[in-house]
Assembly symmetry: C2
DNA sequence: CGGTGTTGCGAAAACGTTATCGAAAACGTT
DNA sequence: AACGTTTTCGATAACGTTTTCGCAACACCG
């Protein structure tokens, strides 16, 4: 049961401005909204009163009356760097188009996106970006665009990135350099993007005529700890891999850390490729070769689409952004001899 | 003039539930809010109807009527890693206390915090954390806690960190290792924290009986580009510094990058200490010695205070969180001979 | 049975805003 | 001066919610 704070001191409202300017609330409202039918004199007087009192309107009340707002919501599961980058891109577009955005981080409770959407939709926000793996079963009350959505059938307009092609490219890149035993540290099965990446890996392996060894495929849920564990197991194999493809940069860094703790050198003993190109990737030593996902551009694209839907009643689409292999220093030729763990 | 989106399709409201359950809206409202005066039978019937229709309430309307909500705002200037870390801590506390939070990123326009506060305050949010350098002149309509606030007189309850002691410690640390020419790359003059850090630097220098050479003090506004420029100038001095104290980690990394581009080694030729301990600091090569600022804890502390103010009418205080020197690899003894730029 | 509580429920009034619509005033035209 | 037209303005009804308050109905007690 949501807790309610105690009542608050009164704020300056339309009626206060009206009294000050010696007009009716209706007139003040017209001035505020630039409606036709107010003489210049009175408009000036009203504006003066607004400035003096610092009137700012009340989003709840006007949203209630108008059934429309200029605020858009961004529903994120938590404030990770990933979400922050998306938000940056989205905020830039929204601002340029005259919309405001509020980011809403749901609790751990299941189905919070649906509830938030219903609670805020219409009165407070005119539409939303959702950046979570949750499925929306019912049609939402307001336009919605999903970013990096869940795996499975999805009727929502969506923006994601082409993880399949990206991972195919990364895998080929390793194969071209002579690697034949390439392991894959997968992500979270409930995310569509995770499936795309694994599919790309499998495709490239088979296309090259290499054996697809499923003991080299591990699910690490984008979790650094699980990635360390998986990497340790892989390196202990009788025939360990010479290269590691990781579902995201954080697991790639975790894997590289572990490898170095075991006395291996990256890339001399083990080549590693990440995914995302988060800022840390470039800073890591050795700088991480990775598949860049244009996070800010994705946020911007999603926001543009949402605004079109909200404003012009446009159809939502499915936009898949291109990825790009960023070559840095974490990939080399496969080590010639067998692995020696120090 | 804010753009308004077109009207939206109708949502399921209290009246719909009432009709479905065969009762009045008043009764449904009582059930939703767990008020006294509804028989168990009807309450059950109403709850069933609520579930069937997926009713979720309308924040705008209830906030309007009640003049109170369980939502708290976090006003950030932009979604930087800095803000994201604070948000994480704040979100954790809010969630535990049964509050929701929305993050609002203001545009570039001046005074957006004030306007947002007025527009959202009371109806939508019951209080706010503001994470910007802006001064609030008038008393805000809702309780407000400032995090890392502007420089100058400040009547708002505040959470910041003890940059003074932190920087004193960092400076002494360098002095203890034999450094005598220590430069300071300052931050943004409008932020209180920036002044604290510089004051700490000056204090430690004078306390040690070293000469305070103001040519070694530069303002870089937390801007990597300016930091590079300042570092270049400092290294070109007749008697260049042997160590650099930086206002934050980002400028420290920029300075280190430049030094290495000039053929210097860190820390052999130049010792560097940052401030904040952002995730990148540990990843940088060499790993950055820095003064840690407990960002998540600061967010959590600020949120706790805000909730106490909102819920129990508590007084706001000024909480200054401790900082901590994190020793890594970017500090060494001063180079013995003169600097030779490659 | 008349009183006196107690309980369950709904009608209606707010909260601050905007849209509609009619009244009043100002103006232009004969 | 009489009339039509335009302009300016305000009273009022919503929007979806919560709260107050009154009205029934029922139980209990003499």
């Amino acid at each position: 049961m949501p807790f309610m704070a105690k009542p608050l001191p009164p704020r300056v409202k339309l009626a206060d401005v009206a009294e000050r300017a010696g007009v009716s609330v209706a007139t003040v409202s017209k001035v505020v909204n630039d409606r036709y039918g107010v003489s210049e004199d009175t408009a000036a007087r009203v504006k003066e009163a607004i400035d003096e009192l610092g009137y700012a309107g009340n989003l709840g009340a006007s949203g209630l009356r108008m059934q429309a707002t200029n605020v858009l919501g961004v529903l994120v599961s938590s404030f990770e760097p990933f979400s922050a980058e998306l938000l940056k891109g989205a905020a830039r577009v929204a601002e340029g188009e005259g919309f405001e955005i509020i980011a809403h981080s749901g609790g751990a409770s299941f189905g919070w996106e649906r509830r938030s959407l219903a609670r805020l939709g219409g009165t407070i926000i005119a539409g939303a970006l959702i950046v979570t793996a949750t499925v929306l079963d019912a049609d939402p009350a307001v336009p919605v665009v999903a970013v990096d959505p869940h795996y499975g059938p999805n009727r929502l307009p969506t923006v994601d990135s082409d993880g399949f092609t990206g991972m195919v490219g990364a895998t080929r890149y390793l194969i071209d350099r002579g690697h034949t035993r390439i392991a894959f540290l997968g992500g979270r099965a409930e995310l569509d993007s995770s499936h795309l990446r694994e599919a790309g890996y499998r495709e490239a392996i088979q296309e090259a005529g290499l054996e697809l060894d499923t003991t080299l495929i591990r699910e690490t849920r984008y979790d650094p700890a699980l990635a360390r564990e998986a990497t340790r197991e892989l390196l202990m194999l009788e025939e360990p891999p010479t290269a590691l493809l990781c579902g995201n940069d954080q697991t790639a860094i975790a894997a590289a850390d572990l490898a170095r703790e075991l006395g291996l050198e990256v890339p001399a003993d083990l080549s590693i490729i990440g995914f995302d190109d988060i800022p840390d990737a470039a800073l890591y030593e050795p700088a991480l070769t990775t598949v860049r996902q244009p996070l800010q551009a994705m946020g911007a694209e999603a926001m543009s689409m949402l605004i079109a839907m909200v404003r012009d009643d446009a159809e939502g689409r499915h936009v898949r952004m291109p990825t790009e292999l960023v070559e840095r220093d974490s990939v080399g030729p496969p080590r010639p001899g067998p692995l020696r763990l120090g």
